[in-house]
């Protein structure tokens, strides 16, 4: 067990090294990507301004509080851009070119190999933007998150990242079934975009969907509530348990997709 852990840690280090070397080749891209990311994030704030333009609160959330949710959304986008999307997009390329077989031939877990193929932490400029958004939000509110709230937020950051990763794995598993995969990224982004709003804004069926089926609520709303000091311990445990359960489900789906790939192709 220990041996396997050490082995995968060593593999992880080798993969990161490859990514860094690759990143150094395309330095100009990084600046452009950072600029585009920033533009996306700031422009996407406009609807928020319009919503709160002439009213103090929506569904129990004030402008500053909603900004905290947006901050979490931005942070998750940063993690997505830097740690998750690059490698999983590479999987889609592999499937398209037929070189996924080489990954499957290797004596290491395929999901691990494809997930760590490309780490581009320099793309995570949104990290800074997220911190800035939080700064603005808490200054406006005139109070700062408690220590307990921050601890809860850190725990939820881990579970939110796990959820994000699992969602992506589910999307990529679909790549085995569809022939043209470009729309998949589109689909993911369209659905994930709803996470910038506090989940209480959505009512009825949609709220259930965003809490249980595609758990966007656990990724942005609950961590924001933790920072604001109004997350119940039940919701906190529920989030963590939910994230683990979701990760388990996505692993099963991935393995199933691989098995189908091995059974149904030639």
């Amino acid at each position: 067990m220990m041996h396997t852990l050490l082995r995968y840690l060593r593999l992880f280090r080798v993969q990161v090294r490859s990514s860094v070397l690759l990143g150094m080749q395309y330095r100009a891209d990084f600046l452009i990507d950072g600029a585009v990311s920033f533009f996306w994030t700031t422009t996407a704030l406009v609807p928020l301004f319009v919503v709160f333009h002439d009213r103090p609160a929506v569904a129990g959330w004030s402008f500053a509080e909603a900004l905290v949710v947006v901050g979490w959304f931005t942070l998750l986008e940063a993690i997505l851009e830097g740690a998750i999307s690059p490698s999983l997009t590479a999987v889609v390329e592999h499937i398209r070119k037929g070189t996924l077989d080489f990954v499957l031939l290797k004596p290491a877990d395929a999901q691990f190999l494809v997930s760590t193929a490309r780490f581009e932490p320099w793309r995570s400029t949104n990290l800074l933007t997220a911190l800035a958004i939080w700064g603005v939000a808490f200054v406006r509110m005139g109070k700062w998150p408690s220590l307990l709230g921050l601890c809860a937020a850190v725990v939820l950051l881990a579970s939110a990242t796990l959820l994000l990763y699992s969602l992506w794995i589910l999307t990529v598993s679909a790549a085995f079934y569809v022939v043209k995969v470009d729309n998949l990224t589109n689909l993911f982004n369209s659905v994930f975009d709803a996470a910038r709003w506090p989940v209480q804004v959505f009512r009825g069926v949609l709220r259930w969907i965003f809490t249980l089926v595609v758990p966007l609520a656990l990724m942005t709303t609950y961590p924001a509530e933790a920072m604001l000091g109004r997350l119940s311990p039940l919701a906190l445990t529920g989030s963590v348990v939910g994230a683990c359960a979701f990760a388990w489900v996505s692993r099963r789906v991935w393995l199933g997709s691989l098995a189908r790939y091995a059974s149904a192709s030639s």
């Binding site: 406009v46 609807p47 319009v50 569809v178 589109n186």
Partner: protein
Amino acid sequence: MSARSTVRALPTLVRVGFAEAIAYRAEMLVWVLSTTMPLIMLALWSAVAADAPVGRFDQRDFLAYFLATFIVRQLTGAWVAWQMSFEVRTGTLAMRLLRPLHPMVSYAVENLAALPLRLVVALPVAMLALLLLGTARLPRSPALWGVWAVAVLGGWLITFLANALIGCLALWTGSSIKVMDVWLVAFMVFSGYLVPVELFPGVLRTLVAWLPFRYQIGFPVEVMTSAYDLPAALGMLARQWAFVLAFLGLAAIVWRRGLRRFAAYGG
């Protein structure tokens, strides 16, 4: 290829384009699911308007607006920029250039060939809108419907030409996806796709008037929901088509220049 032979080839091109569009069931499902953003926005804005209307929009107005947005988006969508980027990157653009058919025409036909499919998705939504809201907000006069049809055509043209323009950039830089990303977010925010343009605060509203985005979605939707009387609608229509002509000219220039460079360097 002459205009006459192009027209003769059209039926086959359209038929094949349609067959291609429905060749893959799973893809279709994915694509349908990814165009649901207006519906999510509807849920959001309905909640916002729950206590008090936002501007002139109460909950039913938002319902009408976003269902109309969904329909107009289906009718005017284009993705040529991604297609061109992909083809330049993989070198398959050369195939298109070899054919005796103007590449822009073939892109346009492929896009339009998938239109019946998009109508199939839009139609139930239109039915639903009629059921829930009745015809209260729809334009009364046939003239306004005529304006709407032309507005939708103009919206499609601007979307297509903007896509083509950005796609042409790939002839210089190899991949113009990032430029498309920038365009896309500006489009989503300033076209009325996420927020009715009317609701923008003062300074942003002036900005939006000078950008082409609102003529892609916002304007046709506003005509459809009776936001204008005939003279005002015609005025806006003129501005829309000014943008169409501007894009047409720009796209033609960029395409020709880009093609020359592509041919010189092999892409």
